[in-house]
Structure formats: C-alpha cells, structure tokens
Symmetry: C2
Subunit: 251 residues, 2 copies
C-alpha cells in the first residue's frame, strides 16, 4: 500500500456527493415522517406491517443502492479490491433490507386476504428485485470470485455498469409508482384538495427523482471516473499478457 | 458531399434501433387501443377530451422525444448539420404535440371544474415540459444559432446530452405515474381483480419502461457514438485555432 501516487479528487465532486447524501437522507427521513404522521407508524405484527414495505424500500433499494453505485467515485485512492468489496457489501445490505420489505407486503396481503402482484408497481417491483439479484450474482462471479480472466472482466464491465444504472433508475420509477398507489388508495378524490399528506408525498416523489438524477450525474461524468492506480495498471498488464497468452513485454 | 469516407455502422446497432422502433410504435398503438377499447375513444369537444392527453404524450414526449435522441446514432454518414436540424425538428414536433396534450387536459379540467396541478404526475409533468422547452432553447442557441464558438459548444455538449437523457427518462417516469393515476381513478379496488383494462395498462407500463431502457442503451454505448467525419474534424480544427487564437499548424 506504500508509495502509491494518490489521484487528486475533482474539485466539484465532494459537493455533488454531499448533495446526493443530503437528498438521500432527507428522502429516507421524509418516508419515515410520512408513515409516522399519516399512516400510524411501523410495526410487524399488526395492520402497520404494510408500512415496513415503503421504509425498507426507501432505505434499501433507493438510498443504499444509490450509494453502492457511488462507491467508486468516492473512494478513489483506496485499493481497488477494498472498494469492490464495499460496493458488493452495500448491495448485499440493500438486497437484504429490500427482501424484508418484500416479505412485509406479501405477509400483510396474505393476512388481509388481498390479491398479490396485480398492479404495475408490483410487476415493476418484482422485475427490479429479480434483476438486482441476478446482477449481484453475475457481478460477484465476474469481479470478486477469482476465476474470471482479465479480458472477460473488462468485456463485461460496461454491461455491468449500464445494467446497474438501469436497475437503479427502474427502482426509483417503481418507488414513485408505489408512492402514487399508496396515496390514491387512501386519499382518492381528496388528493385534489391539496391535503397535507398529498403535498408531503408529492415532495417526497420529487426528492426521489432528484436523488436518482444526482446519482446518475455523478456516475456518468467521464472526468469523475475512478482513475486506475499504478499497481492496478501493472497488474492488469500481467493479467492481460497471461490471459491472452502473449509474452510479457520488456520494461 | 463527395469523396467522404463513410464510417461503417456497428453490426448490432440496426437491430437495436429496429427493436426500439417496434417498442415505440407498439406503445403508441397500445395507448390508442387502451383509449379506444376502455375509455370511449378520442374527441376534442366532449368528455373524451381528456383522452387526447395520454395519446399526445405517448406520441410526443415518449416516442418522438426518444427518436430525436437516436438521430445521431442512426444517421451516421449524413452531414452533421442535416442530422442536427433533424434532431432539432423532431424535438419541435414532440414539443408541439405535447403542448396539445397539455392544453387538452387543462381545458378538460376547466370545463369539469376539476383542480389543476395537485398530483405528483402533474408536478413531474410540468417540470418535464419546462425543462424540455429550456433544453431545446439552450440547445438551439448553442448548436444551431451561428454565434456560439467551437470551444463553448464542446464544453456545453456533455451537459446537453446528460440533461437530454435525464429529461427523457423523467418523461417516461411521468407517463408511468399518469397511467397509474388514470387506472386507479377508474378501477379503484377492481384493479386487484385482474380486470382486462388493468392488465393491458400494466403491459403498456412495461413497454414504456422497456422503450426507455433500449433508447438509453443505444445512446450510452460508447462504440455506437457517431464518429466525426473528415471534413468536420478539419472544420473543428479551424474553429479551434480561430477561437483559441493559435496559429494554424502546418499540414
């Protein structure tokens, strides 16, 4: 770890990351406030079990998933493997919390005798969850499991990044649909009277969209990408020559 | 136009573009089918005026906006200016059709005495429309109006592309919210009985999300970007030397 040249952090990046965290924490807090103020709070063994669902999804599939995507932009000078493990672990936490949220809503529906999986929100939600799990498994097999060759990794990397961003955006869209569903089922025609709950939920919806937008911006700015470090480049060269069967070039 | 070396089109690109068009046309047709089969069709001077709104938005803010983004990937060997004008024109058509859709819903609300702009869908919709209009104006001033310098254009280009893609994705999200709203206001608890209208609208929602995903994929694949042509590179060099005040290098 010694003797590594530290790459400088782009000047504006920390402000954008801080802004994303402010948005993310505010949207989680606002989800909690919405459930506490207008939906009676949260509990597992009661009618309040449903409320576990939106809170878990806001924490897991929005905030933690978004933060997992930002790991490579934030930890620019750590060893690649450390950053990779953190990226994988944050996604595991997000998946587990989302699973709790999923169990909560299915269990609540079962106890109440409600139908499952009839709405667009639920279809998108199941799609997101399955895609997210598959993406994690494939990502783990390629990047953390030691078997995959360097050339296989670098060919898969672009798809991993694209699908990661797409699944995140689909998660944000699914959350917006769920929020709208919860609002319309309860408020109905009262929604048009600018009820405080409706206005608060609309603001929460805008926060969700903004968080998605800011994470996407940080992720896609080419000059904010994590630079390869000296020893990674050397290692990559070794891998490359090994996997492609060339003889190492003289240095 | 003579003597220009034509850049080869990546092998898979035409298939992806064809698939995006199939998705786009299917989603517009399915919106029409939904309104025709379950909402009584379309007319301006009656209760059916509302139905103008979803159809116009599906055509303008989803299909045409998506296609306008793909213009640079599809027309790879046309003169840059032709492609640019087509890009701008498709966005103008999209804006005009969206404006008709917007007038339809406000006029319908006024006649019925309904409140305006209370829902998350309407907030996101107004945001999309304003951002889209501003993006068009700024894009026109920088890229089609002859005043902007080469260096100003190239500095603004990345933001233009990012905001263009973001506004398109926000349009897709807003359409999903609107679809859900229209469904829940009419079906209410019947939505959970897997009514044919609900299932059709859910499939329409998935088509919307898929169209967004495929357009984003075509747009972001680095090796599918439109290559600069020989005379554009020469022109850029001239502009660059002119704007930066360097003397032209000898050739």
């Amino acid at each position: 770890m010694e003797g590594r040249a530290t790459a400088s952090t782009p000047a504006a990046l920390p402000y954008y990351v801080a802004f994303s965290q402010l948005l993310g924490l505010t949207l989680v807090a606002m989800t909690g406030a919405w459930l506490g103020l207008y939906r009676g709070g949260i509990a597992w063994e009661s009618n309040l079990q449903f409320n576990v669902h939106p809170l878990c999804m806001a924490i897991g599939l929005i905030f933690l998933q978004g933060d997992a995507l930002l790991v490579y932009r934030v930890f620019r000078n750590e060893a690649k493997r450390t950053t990779k493990v953190l990226h994988g672990l944050l996604h595991v936490f997000a998946l587990i919390i989302a699973l709790v949220g999923l169990v909560a809503v299915f269990d609540y529906h079962r106890k109440k005798g409600y139908a499952d999986l009839y709405s667009l929100h639920s279809w998108c939600g199941i799609l997101v969850f399955v895609l997210y799990f598959v993406q994690w498994l494939v990502g783990f097999s390629f990047f953390l499991f030691p078997g995959a060759s360097f050339s296989l990794r670098s060919r898969y990397r672009a798809s991993h990044v694209f699908f990661g961003a797409t699944i995140f955006l689909l998660s944000v869209g699914t959350a917006l649909l769920g929020l709208k569903e919860a609002l319309l089922f309860k408020l109905g025609a009262k929604y048009s009277l600018f009820e405080p709950e409706g206005v608060l939920a609309n603001v929460l919806g805008l926060l969700l969209a903004c968080f998605g937008g800011v994470v996407l911006y940080i992720l896609t700015r080419p000059d904010w990408k994590r630079p390869s470090q000296a020893e990674e480049q050397a290692l990559s060269m070794d891998f490359k020559t090994l996997t492609e069967g060339d003889s190492p070039s003289s240095q």
